[in-house]
Homo-oligomer: 187 residues x 2
Amino acid sequence: MDDHLKWQETEAKLIEDCTIFELYESKRESKSGLSGTFYLLKSRDWVNIVPVLTDSRGEERFLMVKQYRQGADKLTIEFPAGLVEKDEHPEKAAGRELLEETGFRAGTLQLIGKIMPNPAFMTNCCYTYLARDLRKVDDQNLDDLEQLEVLEVPVHEVASKIGRGCYLNSMTLIALHWYLRPGGKAP
Amino acid sequence: MDDHLKWQETEAKLIEDCTIFELYESKRESKSGLSGTFYLLKSRDWVNIVPVLTDSRGEERFLMVKQYRQGADKLTIEFPAGLVEKDEHPEKAAGRELLEETGFRAGTLQLIGKIMPNPAFMTNCCYTYLARDLRKVDDQNLDDLEQLEVLEVPVHEVASKIGRGCYLNSMTLIALHWYLRPGGKAP
């Protein structure tokens, strides 16, 4: 019944391979007779990991990473995150990114949400996994240009600071939303 | 104290002007002696509007828009949203986008959250405004390639469906989070 709103690609041209995404120019026509050219970023899917530690008093803390972000020109504190490799299951990517960025291995990984970062011009999804039963098993294993500092932050602190200071990445807000919503946490 | 994590741009080159953003190649050096080239999208800020209607039984409904999204190749249901124009205040942009996309004018607009869509490679912020005291004053006023259908959806339905079906835009999740969090709503 919504067919009149749909569009179809008639031609696509690669403009630039930007490593973490490819910029395309896509010519498209709508069922209702419109035509236009759109810029699209084709990207691999992303994973966001919410690693939860519980201290001796039962207080829950997130394992997070502090890093410099080139787009923002600012330091951010975020959940560990990364790209899903070709032919890799998102859950495997979540475990791998957590291990690389923090040196922690998750005993359990549970998918708690899935969303598209930007359906207007990006083609990919972001999967959020809850990671529990964490054990420090290794040192960080970072790419050449990555500098990440691992830190532990109480859940209530992230919930109250999100959107302010270093807590300015929307992907971290999204993961927090999935974690906090009723039924979002593992039993 | 975090100076060792910081980077500075030494050279920037425009690769492509994509209308809604510009793709740049940015050469940068870190305080700790690293150097690299990064792709960045320079974009105007975005606004997200959460328009709330209350029916005769006191139930709250969001005013939302259904549209085809070229990145997703799917129909989405989202909050009204758009770009902040040059020299425009985000609040003014919120009122303008709401009026253009739905024909409704807001009696009050309240900033309830601010976040960066992607600080890794995008330079912009997204402001979310709560819109109340809504009045239908005009028809839609859309761009040539925009086809938006306006609909009303109960708040609880959006909260339960977010991430599924047509509710797949992360910007809508973000706006919903700001609306639902304690203290997020207007009194």
